[in-house]
């Protein structure tokens, strides 16, 4: 990572900045689309503050404007968020010993960006104490929330969206790839990533993003088996 501050909190803020910046167009787009779908501002902001999971919010608003029954809207959007269960489990060895109230807060802010940053840093910084890890997580997470909520509000109220010709939507996959690549440090890691990519693409037809979950479970099993044999 670029910053070498010894304070985990500040490291977290610095490492998280690029990811916070690329959230802005997504937050704004959600605001625009939710208003266009006919939601009042209070409900748009309700989604963004209570759910904080962009992809599932897009799914929910799309299905609602298609007139799908509420229970199915909720079930479909929750399926899109199932990967968060894996994030929650993966954080236990690192953040499990933290006080309960801290884990309550961390759970609220455990999104793709904060999970990916935390996993990458915790793998690297083996010497960090639990409170160092909590501080790092807080550093990555605290800017995420106001920026996500603020950009949704800007999209909803001002109808502001980034011109498509900027092709900014490609920044998101690029940033995650840059975060994953340094994690590929053993045969087991490389094999896991390979199964993850090929599995998700092969299972793309499975509804509600469940192909990703199946591919991820297969990838973990393959990687763990390679580690066990070596």
């Amino acid at each position: 990572m670029a910053s070498r501050s010894s304070r985990p909190f500040l490291r977290g803020v610095a490492d998280g900045m690029p990811f916070v910046v690329i959230m802005v167009p997504f937050g704004a787009l959600f605001g625009v689309l939710a208003i266009e779908a006919g939601l009042p501002l209070a409900q748009v902001m309700g989604f963004t503050t209570l759910v904080i999971a962009g992809a599932s919010q897009f799914v929910a608003v799309q299905l609602m404007s298609d007139g799908v029954p509420g229970a199915i809207v909720v079930a479909s959007a929750l399926a899109v968020n199932l990967r968060m269960v894996m994030y929650s489990a993966a954080m236990v060895p690192h953040l499990g010993p933290a006080p309960f109230w801290q884990r309550v807060g961390i759970s609220y802010l455990l999104v793709d960006q904060t999970y990916a940053l935390a996993q990458s840093a915790f793998d690297r910084e083996q010497a960090w104490s639990v409170s160092d890890k909590v501080a790092y997580f807080a550093g990555t997470a605290l800017p995420v929330f106001p920026v996500w909520v603020g950009s949704t509000w800007v999209g909803a109220v001002l109808g502001a969206r980034v011109p498509e010709s900027w092709q900014l939507e490609f920044a998101m996959p690029l940033a995650f790839l840059a975060l994953v690549a340094p994690m590929l440090k053993s045969r087991a890691h490389v094999a896991g990533a390979f199964v993850s990519v090929t599995g998700t693409l092969l299972l793309w037809w499975v509804p509600w993003n469940l192909g990703l979950i199946l591919a991820a479970i297969a990838a973990m099993a393959v990687a763990a088996e390679i580690e066990r044999r070596s």
Binding site: V92, P173, L212, A224
Partner: protein, 100 residues
């Protein structure tokens, strides 16, 4: 009112997906085989999360995006540094856009 029910249920459900293990297990010890699987959560979920966005983006497959993604991964593996990987991939994408 129905919309608020959807928002509330989805918010609560999503919170529970994030809380279920971290909140409920806490620092109770987990078996070795579970920990061995969890060590690979990052490489198991994140590449699959972005793969469709790179290979099948909304506007259709774009060779410039595929090459930029390959450059990002190559530089990231080689330099072990996130920022140089993003900059290299972004520069490749912009350069290919100017050429085409």
């Amino acid at each position: 009112m129905n919309v608020w029910w959807i928002i509330g249920a989805l918010g609560l459900g999503t919170y529970l997906t994030r809380f279920v293990f971290l909140g409920l297990i806490g620092d109770r010890p987990m078996p070795d085989w579970v920990l061995r699987h969890l060590r690979y959560t990052g490489v198991a979920v994140l590449p699959g999360l972005v793969a469709p966005l790179v290979v099948w983006p909304e506007g259709g497959t774009d060779p410039a995006q595929l090459i930029a993604a390959a450059v990002t991964v190559a530089v990231g593996v080689w330099r072990k540094d996130v920022i140089s990987a993003v900059l290299a991939g972004g520069a490749a994408f912009v350069a290919l856009g100017l050429l085409s």
